[in-house]
Symmetry: C2
Subunit: 277 residues, 2 copies
């Protein structure tokens, strides 16, 4: 049977990360920690004569999605619907890649497992240069800790057993490719330190604190983002920078309390899943 | 901070399984396949002078729960609320153990990770003799395939990327301890065959078919359960036996179409998660 199929993939905010390169894209990836969001991407796949990718009804070239379609050897129209901005640290490209893999698998009856589909989407995202760890985090859901890098055959994931309301505020975008394509020595050193702190104390406050330290020590923190984080702290809130974007996320009502008009969502526990079209 | 905390853990129907014993309870477990259900157990933990366990307001001795409280070194009242019957193949004891671990961790600020809490609950369930694979499946959610046995440090999980309405009908209970305490050679042989079929074709119809074969070849199928499965098949439906209980589950409207009055739920994707009390 082939037909229309739909998947939902949560947005994913990375708080801190390391980078690991390998000749094998399924071994390439990152360690780190992040939060999956109930704001995500609903991806619908429908067989078509020519591949086409739309995000919120706009035609868009997303390298990771094209690679997933090629790997599954399907021609399809891929429609993504999301409230999240692209390129601002929400893992939208990863969500599109993973959602395409899940939905195309069902639409074309490819009979692959969840891990196989995650491996395909992770490899596609790595090869497209748009991310290293979002896909495997988005496949897990919740508050994932990536203890070992790579796809499901190679990585090792854990999680912070917690839930929360999450607020976020977007100032602008950062190019993942520019950052990950440069020297990442400082990033990886700061990421390892943050990871070790969160492994010792896997709670949300500890995750936020480790994310703030990471953003400073990695050199990725911008003055504009720092200013918002300080505003939230002055209102007794807990905020950090979303990697990689000029985006601030906060627990509870942190951004609202500081006078911002944030978008509100919550931790999304399921991870990528099939939904009814 | 200590206080009241609450977790939700999905019910889990096992379709087929193998058994693996080891001196280390975290290496003991089972391979197999199952379905997590939106019908589950909401577990509330509150500090108390003396430990007490209640299921749907009835005091109950659940060995796995007591062991979890002991391991976390806490005295608490544990309240479970569920529409699921105990001892009929829904993993209620596993859900109670895992929900207790998650909620007690938060209530007593134990600062353990999701995998650590799953390891504690899995070990407690194994030592209590009430299950081998429910806890790790319930921690994952969705339609878990347990490719390797044991707790999170040792196992390897995959999943069927699908969702469905699930109906179930309970005829009666089976003692997990009696079955698992006896000779499980035939069970493990049948379980390995079913697993290999589902690995080759990780879809829901293939999972149901493998579960039916397993129930026959393991010798666990009863005449009463077989009769209901046949009724569903005659109505063009897809049903199988829930391990270990005299319980039938079906995809979609299988049991309704055959004239039964089943309880209705759906695949639950998140797995164990913290909720607001």
């Amino acid at each position: 049977m082939t037909g229309v199929a739909q998947a939902f993939v949560p947005g994913h905010i990375t708080g801190f990360f390391t980078t690991h390169r390998d000749a094998d894209p399924t071994k390439t990836g990152s360690q780190g920690g992040g939060v999956c969001l109930s704001d995500g991407v609903t991806v619908t796949v429908e067989p078509a004569a020519e591949p086409q990718v739309l995000l919120n009804d706009e035609p868009l070239d997303i390298g990771a999605v094209t690679r997933v379609l090629d790997t599954l050897q399907v021609n399809a129209t891929v429609r993504g619907e999301t409230p999240l901005p692209l390129g601002s640290g929400f893992g939208v490209s990863g969500a599109m890649a993973l959602g395409t893999a899940f939905a195309a698998n069902a639409a074309f009856d490819r009979q692959l497992s969840a891990n196989e589909l995650t491996t395909i989407a992770h490899g596609a995202e790595v090869q497209a240069g748009t991310g290293l760890g979002d896909v495997v985090a988005q496949a897990r859901g919740g508050v994932p800790i990536r203890l070992e890098p790579g796809g499901p055959q190679h990585n090792y994931l854990d999680g912070i057993p917690a839930t929360a309301r999450i607020e976020y505020h977007v100032l602008g975008g950062l190019s993942t490719d520019d950052v990950l394509g440069g020297d990442t020595t400082d990033i990886t050193a700061a990421g390892k330190q943050a990871l070790s702190q969160v492994v010792k104390e896997p709670t949300l406050p500890s995750f936020m604190q480790a994310s703030r330290s990471f953003s400073r020590e990695s050199g990725l923190l911008t003055d504009e983002v720092q200013s918002v984080i300080s505003d939230v702290a002055q209102a007794d809130g807990d905020a950090a920078m979303a990697m990689l974007g000029e985006t601030i996320f906060a627990l509870g009502t942190g951004l609202s309390d500081a006078g911002y008009d944030p978008r509100v969502c919550e931790v999304h526990h399921p991870g990528a899943m099939m939904t009814q079209p």
